[in-house]
């Protein structure tokens, strides 16, 4: 098709095709100004010592890779990366399990579930909620004298208020719960779209062969879903690395208790608000490399989609 066109190319088409460039101008001008230049400036700044001590500006002094050495040899970054991954995994595993289950039920014609639209609407809803408001809400609900403790007390489940925000486990579970709630509906819908795309003759054949529901699920559905599964996994991991709003607001930026809720982006935010340009730059570049590698995987999935 391409070839056809180019061999037949007359002046007119070439002239028209120039419009392609013109139509791309807004995107690229904006991208270069607001993303590419900032990216280079971030990389550039990561090689300098540049921060404020009080109102006094220190630097910028060129320090080579010192910021990187500093970043990668102090335990903080690995601790925060660990925090981020733990909270991501804790949200992601239930999310993918529940999403698979629900998607399977929704797309299983033999179940003929009623009220599907209602359920889908409800489970997707938390995805659209302002994360900052949602975490402020959780903070209020789970505070020591908040409604959750009040309800548990009046039900007699506990004797005195349970201090959710004083325990590492409980606070992390709250973050995981919120991440789970915000994303499992979205994942369900993505997986369901993949399942509905499976040729129904495959199922029919399986039924004729006498396969049980679980056999059908593990032998047919899962293998076909694999690409979309990996896509969900990687995009969720990239999203997980950006985890910020929920723990930031839940802990008021401190990552309490024990700094165990501090995520990598919260550290970046600390550097950005205190104008520590050098260390912030090194951290940004580190994140850029990590997400860049992960993005490459998504990119390969997407471009194989493109080809199909």
């Amino acid at each position: 098709m391409d070839k056809n066109k180019s061999t037949k190319a007359n002046h007119n088409v070439v002239k028209f095709n120039r419009w392609g460039y013109i139509f791309l101008i807004p995107f690229f001008v904006t991208y270069i100004i607001f993303s590419l230049i900032p990216l280079f400036s971030t990389i550039y700044n990561s090689f300098f010592e540049n921060y404020r001590s009080g109102l006094k500006q220190i630097g910028p002094n060129f320090v080579g890779g010192a910021n990187y050495v500093n970043l990668l040899t102090t335990p903080e970054i690995w601790k925060y990366l660990g925090n981020t991954l733990i909270m991501w995994v804790g949200g992601f595993i239930p999310q993918i399990v529940i999403a698979l289950l629900l998607a399977y039920w929704f797309s299983d014609p033999s179940l003929r579930l009623k009220g599907q639209r209602f359920f889908k609407t409800v489970i997707y809803m938390p995805n659209l909620i302002m994360a900052s408001a949602f975490s402020m809400l959780f903070f209020a609900l789970f505070s020591d004298s908040g409604p959750v403790n009040q309800i548990l007390l009046s039900l007699g489940a506990i004797k005195e208020p349970f201090k959710f925000f004083q325990f590492v486990g409980a606070s992390r579970i709250l973050v995981m719960l919120m991440n789970f709630l915000m994303w499992f509906g979205n994942t369900t819908i993505l997986l369901m779209a993949g399942m509905l795309g499976i040729d129904s003759s495959l199922y029919e054949a399986a039924q004729v062969d006498g396969a049980t529901a679980s056999q059908v699920f593990f032998k047919i559905t899962m293998p076909i879903l694999r690409p979309i599964f990996i896509y969900v996994l990687i995009t969720s991991l990239i999203g997980g690395l950006q985890m910020f709003d929920v723990p930031q607001i839940l802990t008021n930026g401190r990552g309490n208790p024990m700094d165990a809720l501090t995520t990598v982006i919260m550290l970046l935010n600390r550097y950005l608000t205190s104008k520590d340009v050098g260390r912030g730059g090194a951290l940004s570049v580190f994140l850029f490399v990590v997400t860049g590698i992960l993005s490459l995987v998504v990119f390969r999935i997407n471009s194989s989609k493109e080809k199909n």
Binding site: W19, F23, L128, M130, A131, M136, I189, S200, S284
Partner: protein
């Protein structure tokens, strides 16, 4: 398709499976809704009522809470207005220019087209946070610090929106239409505005909603850029509540403020849920 009779004897009976499915669904729906229910109830209750314990039924202080919020020290009405301005402008710019970019890649066979398409695809997943440092320095230099402009303009380059719209165009936009328009003497720009845009309206509307909601909920960048109280958007104001000295607020105010920032989106969503849920799967279906 088939019914119960086709189930094999060693499988779990369909009736049981269906019951389990319903129970699970109801449980998770409950888990999604309960928080908002408590929020709704507590925003109608006064501070002193709340210290006494939770009640299942609403009280009568909704308007009291609202008026103490509006008359309080957080300029919440400005926050609403700022959020709406930012979100609407972002949604419009984002969808219009993404459509334009998608149209360029989809329609024209210019040199470097494939490379450009690949490039956009490659940068799609890179999060904005990694360039935030340079971005902040840039906007300070451009004199746009403490302004909502840098929250809006960058939306012109939105690779994800572009990606969805391009996929939509590939399957729903016959190129013959463009050629027909050319024969009719329509300029390229006019063709795009008057013929293409109306044609892809379903996809545009869905992406507009996503862009609107995304911008409405955005917290990271606005929190770094906006400093003056009257310029802040809602998420920044909400976050401020967390650090604020609670002596100046009562819980009624806190709940009503959370409610006020959450419920507009919920209402929009409930009105348009059909298109939104469809829109989520659209990207995947094409895969």
């Amino acid at each position: 398709m088939n019914n119960e009779t086709t189930m094999k004897p060693h499988g779990v009976p369909i009736g049981v499976r269906r019951t389990i499915a319903y129970i699970t669904l109801i449980f998770f729906s409950f888990l999604c809704l309960i928080w908002f229910y408590i929020l709704l109830i507590n925003s109608t209750r006064s501070h002193s009522e709340m210290t006494l314990g939770f009640t299942v039924l609403p009280s009568t202080h909704l308007l009291d809470n609202w008026s103490s919020l509006i008359n309080g020290t957080i300029p919440i009405a400005r926050g609403f207005l700022n959020s709406i301005i930012v979100s609407v402008c972002t949604a419009v710019l984002c969808t219009y220019f993404s459509a334009m970019t998608a149209y360029a890649i989809n329609t024209y066979q210019f040199k470097g087209r494939a490379a450009i398409a690949t490039f956009i695809l490659a940068i799609m997943m890179i999060p904005g946070q990694v360039t935030a440092l340079g971005f902040l320095r840039l906007i300070v230099r451009l004199g746009m610090d403490d302004s909502i402009v840098p929250l809006i303009i960058p939306a012109i380059a939105s690779p994800v929106t572009y990606f969805y719209l391009k996929q939509y165009m590939e399957s729903n936009l016959p190129l013959s239409l463009v050629e027909a328009a050319r024969i009719d003497g329509s300029g390229e720009f006019r063709t795009f505005n008057t013929i293409i845009m109306p044609l892809i309206k379903p996809a545009i509307s869905v992406q507009m909603i996503f862009a609107f909601v995304g911008s409405w909920n955005n917290y990271f960048t606005p929190a770094l850029i906006l400093h003056t109280d009257t310029k802040k958007t809602l998420p920044v104001m909400i976050a401020q509540l967390r650090g604020a000295d609670w002596l100046r607020f009562d819980m009624g105010q806190i709940y009503i403020m959370i409610a006020a920032s959450i419920f507009p989106v919920i209402v929009i969503y409930l009105l348009l849920s059909r298109y939104i849920v469809g829109g989520v799967s659209a990207g995947a279906v094409k895969g």
